[in-house]
Amino acid sequence: MTAVIETNGLGRRYGRRQALSDCTLSIPPGRVVGLVGPNGAGKSTLLQLACGLLAPTSGTIEVLGARPASGPAQVARVGFVAQDTPTYAGLSVADHLRLGARLNPGWDDGLATARIRQLGLDPGQKAGKLSGGQRAQLALTLAIAKRPELLILDEPVASLDPLARREFMRTLMEFTAEHEASVVLSSHLVADLERVCDYLIVLAASRVQVAGEVDELLATHHRLTGAARDPATFPAGHQVIQASHTERQSTVIVRSSAPIDDPSCSVDKLDLEDLVLAYMTQAAAVGRTPVLETTR
């Protein structure tokens, strides 16, 4: 099963700033992949590298088995919705569809017009006069109607109100159900992603902190709360992700493939938001101080 996105030591530098470093991923096909991380972590950079808008400064990336944007045929297989869902303000909705039809070989006009009708958009309306949610839906329709194998979305719902956000995700999931495409979606709101993604990548401090199937990640990460102890005394096989201690108590987030069987502490499951926060907190701490644990 060829990976839909395969990277090896991928990095991108802007002048002196390293936006993304040493990113090695192998994303299986047919998933809805959530890419989360704080602002400035490199999410947009990674997605733009994947759709060929940027070229890597180190490492390699392959999308659907080929170099990104290596020709019109490859571009036709990947749909992209950029941040803030840009559209041509002076063109009408129908004009945008005409544009898609003329420029994309695999354009499904029936799908596009049905979607527009279903969304209740007026085809004669200029894109500049649409609301944010409607523009996002238009951009999504343009990306979907060319029937891509992979759909990449860069924070598509960040500036939308909750209703528009829900509508957008519903349209996106409907597309996924119908066409068995892979979707890669970035966001800095984890709550949105929890119900939608089955594969997760956490990007923080311009590095991949963790990547894997959501079910597997949730099954193998636990929160242990118990008497204060030195993490070095944990049995091997438990990878400490984040730890915080008071005088009496230690709260540790661990990753472990074996079941945890420690009577001296209570073991809790994590939800996705806690898991992401643990990795992000840890990445931020590593950035600030050389010591891994926060002690008081």
Partner: protein, 131 residues
């Protein structure tokens, strides 16, 4: 025409696919889903609830594994059994025993939260052993 609708509680701590399973079982228990009814298609669920299609598939597979539904390729997933005959009334003796235990637990001085914690930890441990 969807027979039932799903909703997800993002804050309940229960995974989405478990919530779907619960809601199907609940509907069957209340008699809203009867034998022969067709469950909503994956596409219909996803269009209403903005949830990953694989989650729906997983829930339906789990229900099939439990013998509650049966997929018919090209047509849909159909309910094969109902739960309403397993109404709670049929388990009168079990209910009485539980009420007696609760009385004894309160007499022993346990408050509501302690009773719940005791019950849940024993229940989970037992479920873990069974798995």
């Amino acid at each position: 025409m969807m027979v039932i609708e799903f909703h997800l509680d993002g804050r309940s701590g229960v995974s989405p696919y478990m919530q779907l399973i619960h809601q199907v079982r609940q509907a069957m228990r209340l008699g809203l889903l009867r034998e022969g009814d067709r469950l909503p298609t994956v596409k219909d669920v996803v269009a209403k609830v903005a949830i990953n299609p694989n989650t729906v598939l997983k829930a339906y597979r789990e229900l099939e594994y439990e013998g509650l539904v049966q997929p018919r390729p090209g047509v849909g997933t159909f309910v094969t059994r109902t739960l309403s005959d397993e109404s709670l009334a049929a388990h009168g003796p079990l209910r009485q025993e539980l009420e007696q235990w609760l009385t004894r637990a309160r007499a022993a001085g346990l408050d509501e939260e302690s009773i719940e914690a005791l019950f849940l930890s024993t229940f989970r441990a037992a479920a873990g052993e069974k798995a």
